[in-house]
């Protein structure tokens, strides 16, 4: 990584991740590492049909500690609330269990036994009758006349429809006036999140204290706590959620699933701890999926390539019910559709459709990968139609840095940056690239770019409310200097492998003038961490949580300097705090040791008038705006005409995510994101039969990239501090995934101009590409 900023101190330093030594020697504490005396094991009973009714649920002679069927569960629980409600959305909560089954994998019961194997044996003895009805999996098929109805009482499979951005008259006027309109139907298929650690939970009910403790693999401990308490009719303080090490989430662990709630219910009924670990086969249908949308998209421009308007009609697949975020990903696709381009007119229409499939929810990129795929493919197709360089066309239409800040037609207040610089950096890298010539005439090579602006951080809370997102956008940090001078930091954001424990410690250590090893970051335990409404989603841990740590650490530093100033009889503003010493700026001889000052402060001594003895500061950071990082990526690919195989030979990223706290961790976030984007581009698609029977149920039939499939990446970073965020950070968790599929898709299109206009849908697997190549006559002669 190369940055153009060289700061002294811990911020901007590639310090090693504090958790890695423990994790690397196998001392992690993931859910399945935890065992408790008397612990029993659960398996969830699930629908095996896409659509129908549970006509009977008979325990028969099943040997188990506990069996709960649909009716008992429904009676014992309140429905789980939806969180992001679209205009006109009638379904605002989802029953925990119901006799109506609408997808394969829907939970209909729970069985608990002394071991998981015995629980699975017991399920085989249950007498459950399912009356099957016709189902439908594809959102366009679900809209055809006579299609099976997921909710017959609704009369249609349309869950909700609404527009975003400029009104359609304005859009159509702009389209009609344009010299060139590039119009395509593009598709982004369904993705299975596939974290290394699947979901898992242990619930333990203490009947004396009437307290439920829940160890869970989750990105959002407080949010999950609230929904458990709501659904089980407990007070919030009766439920404590503890998230230890989390082996990846990618959005799939940002809410409460019915499964985890059933385990809590079972633990309360049994009075002993109950564990459930999601099996990989379950993960394919029981964990919410990502993506799944058709876009009928248009990009309008003048003859010289000046963009006039962009519009997309989104048909989004909700699955069997609104997930917690419902239409959220489709909405974010719409609002981020314009990307970094000057588009005077922009809008979208959203049609969200019920089908007999697993509900769709959050997955790394959250609608923005779809937006990038649609926009960046259209831009490359426009360049081809106009006979212009795709890079020149982008450069011509990108906002210049002096045009920012501004508000886009889709209501995004782009904050800061120089979009063209990322494009220029990547362009220079690509020009310097000298690929080895192809091994045979049957190998085609192509290079292309894709670019984007990204929505990271969430907040402010009032803006969330305006779009129907019932989730506070703030984040809180508590920073405390203990009597021994060590530092405790806590926040409601969550570590899930991204390294946030390290970067938050860097921020605090940097402000407090203590070594990194003197700082401990405690996350993920609702009994310890300050309340967080949203947790770690939307690339917000560093921008919103980090901003709170910056402010709380700064407040604590100021308090320490006030106490020191009184003791030394100098103005606090004349003091500095360096390496455990407080002294007058530029005069290290005059001063006091931090540790001594802290020890005496906690004794209530040496305090100026009105100063309390606790060295603990809490700050609630309500951001004034989203932060908007951006990037340009480029890919070089080889395509084998005879087999349809694609190799990504080289990959470049130029990126501005504001102030970089730890360059190594930022590199890792981008590389991992690109690897997942490469998976979307080339391999990944959750397959269903037309009726909703899942066809991808193991990693044998759903491929994700291996390390050998992922190229070495060359990265350029530069920093435009986020103006609204204390510390200046912008989010970096999702950008790699958002734009990589478009970069790779564009490179494949560049390699195959004969079929470029048909590169509209991922994955660009050998099967799909070979068929396009074959039909184009590239196998003739």
């Amino acid at each position: 990584m190369r940055t153009d900023t060289d700061r002294p101190g811990l911020v901007g330093s590639s310090v090693k991740r504090v958790n890695d030594p423990r994790l690397l020697v196998g001392r992690g504490r993931f859910i399945d590492d935890i065992s408790m005396p008397g612990m029993a094991h659960a398996t969830i009973v699930r629908s095996t049909i896409p659509s129908g009714t549970v006509t009977s649920f008979d325990v028969a002679d099943c040997e188990a500690l506990l069996v709960l069927g649909v009716d008992e569960i429904a009676a014992a629980t309140r429905p789980i609330p939806c969180v992001w409600i679209a205009p006109g959305q009638e379904q605002v909560e989802v029953p925990v269990a119901s006799r109506q089954v609408r997808y394969v994998g829907q939970p209909i019961g729970i069985v608990v036994a002394p071991s998981r194997a015995e629980a699975e044996d017991a399920v085989e003895c249950l007498a459950i009758d399912l009356a099957a009805e016709d189902g439908v999996a594809d959102s366009l098929q679900a809209l055809e006349p006579g299609a099976p109805l997921v909710y017959p009482e609704r009369g249609s499979n349309i869950g909700v429809e609404f527009p975003i951005g400029d009104p359609s008259e304005l859009v159509e006027e702009a389209m009609a006036s344009a010299a060139v309109v590039v119009s395509r139907r593009l598709r982004i298929p369904r993705i299975v999140p596939s974290p290394l650690e699947t979901r898992g939970v242990i619930a333990d009910w203490n009947p004396g204290l009437e307290q439920l403790t829940v160890w869970m693999s989750t990105q959002t401990p407080h949010h999950v706590r609230d929904h458990i308490a709501h659904s089980l009719r407990l007070r919030a303080d009766q439920v404590r959620v503890v998230a230890g090490d989390v082996g990846g989430g990618f959005g799939s662990k940002e809410h409460l699933y019915a499964d985890e709630l059933l385990v809590c219910l079972a633990a309360m009924r049994l009075g002993r701890p109950v564990k459930w670990i999601e099996d990989r086969v379950e993960h394919f249908t029981a964990t919410f999926h990502g993506r799944d949308a058709y876009h009928d998209a248009r990009l309008a421009m003048t003859e010289d390539g000046t963009f006039l308007a962009i519009h997309t009609s989104i048909t989004g697949n909700l699955g069997a019910h609104f997930s917690n975020v419902g239409t959220g990903p489709f909405r974010v696709s719409a609002v981020m559709l314009p990307g970094p381009y000057r588009l005077p007119v922009a809008g979208a229409s959203i049609r969200a459709v019920f089908t007999n499939t697993t509900p769709t929810g959050a997955y790394r990129g959250f609608g923005m990968q779809e937006a990038a795929w649609v926009r960046e493919r259209l831009v490359d197709e426009a360049a081809r139609e106009l006979g212009m360089s795709a890079i020149e066309l982008r450069r011509k239409n990108m906002y210049r840095s002096d045009e920012l800040p501004l508000v886009t037609p889709t209501f995004q207040e782009y904050d800061s940056g120089d979009y063209g610089r990322a494009l220029d950096l990547v362009d220079a890298r690509v020009r310097a690239y000298a690929p080895a010539p192809p091994a045979s005439a049957r190998i085609r090579q192509g290079i292309a770019v894709a670019t984007h602006v990204e929505f990271t951080g969430l907040g402010p809370s009032k803006a969330q409310d305006i779009v129907g997102f019932r989730l506070g956008g703030y984040e809180t940090a508590v920073v405390r200097m203990e009597p021994d001078g060590s530092v405790f930091v806590s926040s409601g954001v969550m570590g899930m492998g991204q390294g946030i424990e390290t970067t938050l410690a860097q921020l605090a250590a940097d402000r407090l003038g203590v070594p990194l090893e003197r700082v401990r970051v405690q996350l993920g335990d609702t009994g310890v961490a300050p309340y967080s409404a949203a947790g770690s989603i939307a690339s917000r841990s560093m921008t919103v949580g980090g901003g709170a740590v910056v402010r709380a650490s700064t407040a604590l530093r100021e308090k320490i300097l006030r106490i020191a100033g009184a003791k030394l009889e100098v103005s606090p503003s004349d003091l500095e705090l360096v390496e455990g010493q407080i002294h007058v700026k530029g005069d290290p001889r005059t001063g006091t040791s931090l540790e001594e000052l802290v020890t005496r402060a906690w004794l209530g001594l040496d305090l100026p008038e009105g100063e309390s003895p606790d060295l603990e500061c809490k700050y609630v950071h309500e951001p004034l705006n989203i932060s908007y990082p951006y990037a340009t990526h480029a890919a070089a690919v080889s395509v084998d005409l005879d087999t349809g195989q694609v190799a990504v030979d080289a990959y470049w990223v130029a990126h501005d995510s504001g102030v970089v706290v730890n360059p190594m961790i930022v590199d890792g976030q981008i590389m991992g994101g690109v690897a997942q984007g490469l998976g979307i581009a080339l391999f990944e698609k959750m397959l269903y039969a037309d009726d909703g029977q899942p066809l991808s149920t193991t990693f044998m039939d759903y491929l994700i990239p291996l390390s050998s499939d992922v190229p070495t990446m060359v990265m350029d970073h530069y920093e435009t501090p986020a103006p609204h965020i204390p510390g200046g950070m912008k989010g970096v968790g999702e950008g790699g995934t958002i734009v990589a599929p478009a970069a790779i898709g564009n490179a494949i299109a560049a390699a195959l101009p004969e079929i470029a206009e048909q590169i509209l849908e991922t994955p660009l697997s050998p099967g799909r590409l070979w068929t396009l190549i074959h039909k184009a006559g590239l196998h003739d002669g």
């Binding site: 398996t43 969830i44 009973v45 699930r46 095996t48 994998g105 071991s115 998981r116 194997a117 699975e120 044996d121 399920v123 085989e124 249950l126 007498a127 459950i128 670990i277 099996d279 990989r280 086969v281 379950e282 029981a286 005879d642 087999t643 349809g644 195989q645 391999f683 397959l687 066809l695 193991t698 044998m700 039939d701 491929l703 990239p705 291996l706 050998s708 499939d709 697997s765 050998p766 099967g767 070979w770 068929t771 074959h774 196998h779």
Partner: protein, 291 residues
């Protein structure tokens, strides 16, 4: 009710200490016995409860079954030899290099550390590499039983259909034999969506070339039918022809007509047939270049 499973159903476990003991268990058991060697297919199937054996007969402690022998008459691989061991065996590399190539396409190193040659062949997965090479090399499988002793059967008799072989319930695969005859050379190549996955098509080719003329050819394909398929028209078309680029093109064209194939969710039958032809032509080019 069929549930979602991650743990196998109940079974009895027997760890045989000798071939005789294993054969006795197989001969006397009245229930369904699954033989556990490397476990790379069996254990997954059991965890999914798609395989529900009453008895798991573990042969991993049986001595004498992991032998690897190769010379100019071919390779005789004991049923328990691990793929990774065979892959690194110098004599196999010298005398039957195609076997090393084919093994290199089986899964990933972690899988090859466990998987056995006998288990791979006995499982009879129609997309598996080694059955295809065995078909091309006119290989054999040695089976043993307590009552009838040992018998050696040819590949064509051994492989019946998907996961189905001529092995009787009381028999154990003891070795897999890849014979070499003077003048023959073999090669293997495949196309998979991702390296190490089951191939969309995998082709084995054997050639006996003398004075630049193909005397005999053998071509087999896996991944296209319920068991390995020999492309006899391709073989016939090659015999007596100059080993040339033109011949490679002709053979590829015939392969694309002769090779059976069907559509699945990922690739079309046409694509698979095309790949068989492409692989035939690439193998011809590499083998003629290497000659």
């Amino acid at each position: 009710m069929k549930g979602y499973c991650m743990k196998p159903g109940p079974f009895r476990y027997i760890a045989a200490q000798s071939v005789e003991e294993a054969l006795d268990v197989l001969a006397s058991a009245e229930e369904d016995v699954a033989i556990l060697a490397g476990g790379q297919s069996l254990v997954s199937l059991m965890n999914l409860r798609l395989a529900r054996p009453d008895i798991v007969l573990d042969i991993n402690r049986v001595p004498g079954l992991a032998t690897v022998q190769a010379d100019d008459s071919g390779a005789r691989i004991g049923a328990l030899a691990r793929a990774a061991v065979v892959e690194r065996d110098a004599s196999v590399g010298r005398y039957v290099p195609a076997l090393i190539t084919a093994i290199g396409h089986i899964g990933h190193p972690q899988v090859r550390n466990r998987t056995t040659i006998g288990g791979n062949v006995a499982h009879a997965d129609p997309s598996s590499e080694l059955p295809g090479l065995l078909a091309c090399m006119e290989g054999t499988v040695t089976l043993a039983s307590a009552s009838r002793g040992a018998r050696e059967v040819g590949w064509d008799e051994f492989f019946i259909s998907v996961f189905t072989t001529c092995k009787e319930p009381d028999e154990l695969v003891t070795s897999v034999n890849f014979p070499m005859a003077p003048g023959w050379r073999y090669a293997y190549d495949e196309v998979a969506t991702r390296h190490g996955d089951y191939p969309l098509a995998g082709v084995s080719m054997g050639l006996r070339v003398d004075g630049g003329v193909v005397q005999e050819a053998r071509v087999s394909v896996v991944g296209v039918a319920d068991r390995p398929v020999r492309l006899s028209s391709v073989e016939a078309a090659a015999a007596g022809q100059d080993a040339s680029a033109a011949l490679a093109r002709d053979m590829a064209g015939i392969a694309r007509t002769e090779c059976p194939a069907s559509d699945d969710a990922h690739v079309s039958a046409e694509h698979r047939r095309w790949l068989a032809g492409t692989l035939v032509s690439r193998l011809m080019a590499s083998m003629v270049d290497a000659a």
